[in-house]
């Protein structure tokens, strides 16, 4: 199977479908910040 992965670079794939913007908003529990400050 490793042999197959060597052929990946020459393989041409077309992907057709919905492009979605995946947004990740990171936040901290406020209690953690306050504990850290005190």
């Amino acid at each position: 199977m490793i042999e197959i992965t060597r052929k990946f670079s020459g393989a041409r794939v077309v992907v057709i479908g919905d492009l979605i913007a995946d947004e990740y908003v990171y936040a901290a529990w406020l209690a953690c910040r306050e504990r850290l400050r005190s």
């Binding site: 670079s9 794939v13 077309v14 057709i16 919905d18 913007a21 850290l36």
Partner: protein
């Protein structure tokens, strides 16, 4: 707790955007080292500009159609946690297009698809249910590449059995349960019947059912079902986008000339690796090779 309402207050840290849906599948093909062209709609809005900026440079954008008035779908996930601990998803807010995909947009996508598949070694159709991708488009594309024996795979959340006569699909167990109205759990005879029914209904050359911690089952007409155990530990960090990694690996492996069973085994390893990463992640070919050597 907030004094305004019984809700927690979070302190904002940072925002990150990654390509989702077909964009994630394309990113996965690119990360694995394949040449990939993405055919899709993208809005002329801020989200559209941002998502194009974060698409890997290796993704060919010539198939992107930018119609006026189309709004790029956005899924915003809020993740919260301690300063030094893993964050957990608290809520997801979806901003989908307020209107249906128009006929003119469908025609433009079909044209872009026709141009793109002319020299393709494999095609992946990723249907997230917006109405952009339809069984008619899939058939149209499959008819154009059939003479060259190019595999066409489909990933459809809600309309799996409406896609017929393609090369393969890889639904997860719950999608199979939904499509057939059955409950599989640990019952192998139920899984066997379900896999064979999906094969019959879709008239595909292969159906690969992904089973989470139970691995995969590969169904091909006239062949005994192959059960592949889960790769790696069952220490799952995040399953977001894992289906896209599995589909991308399957498609790229078939494009590279693998048999369905070998392609499924590779996809199983890639899927096992990606769920150990947080967020919508990808796997590089070198990681895949390292994992294969460790087996």
């Amino acid at each position: 707790m907030s004094r305004e309402a019984p809700v927690l207050i979070l302190e904002y840290d940072s925002t990150e955007m990654v390509p989702g849906g077909a964009g994630n599948a394309a990113s996965n093909v690119a990360a694995l080292g394949g040449q990939v062209r993405l055919v899709s709609l993208v809005g002329r809005d801020e989200a559209g500009r941002r998502v194009q900026r974060v698409l890997p440079a290796r993704v060919d954008r010539r198939g992107l159609v930018r119609p006026a008035g189309f709004r790029t779908p956005v899924k915003t996930r809020i993740l919260a946690g301690g300063i030094h601990s893993a964050k957990q998803q608290v809520v997801r807010i979806d901003r989908m297009s307020p209107r249906a995909v128009t006929d003119a947009e469908r025609v433009a996508i079909a044209r872009a698809a026709h141009a793109a598949v002319r020299d393709a070694d494999a095609v992946l159709i990723s249907d997230y249910g917006s109405g952009l991708v339809t069984p008619a488009l899939a058939k149209d594309v499959a008819d154009r590449v059939r003479r060259r024996g190019v595999p066409v795979l489909v990933d459809s959340r809600y309309a799996l059995t409406r896609y017929r006569g393609l090369t393969a699909c890889a639904p997860n167990e719950s999608e199979v349960e939904q499509a057939l109205g059955v409950r599989i759990d640990d019952h192998l005879p139920v899984l066997e019947r379900a896999g064979r029914r999906i094969l019959q209904r879709t008239r595909m050359q292969a159906v690969i059912v992904t089973r989470g911690s139970r691995g995969m089952a590969v169904f091909e007409p006239g062949r005994k079902t192959v059960h592949i155990p889960i790769f790696g530990s069952d220490q799952i960090a995040d399953v977001t986008g894992a289906g896209d990694t599995v589909m991308a690996t399957l498609t790229l492996a078939l494009a590279a000339g693998a048999s369905v069973e070998d392609a499924a085994r590779l996809a199983n390893v890639a899927g096992g690796l990606v769920v150990m990463k947080r967020g919508t992640a990808t796997i590089r070919a070198a990681e895949l090779v390292r994992a294969l050597r460790s087996v």
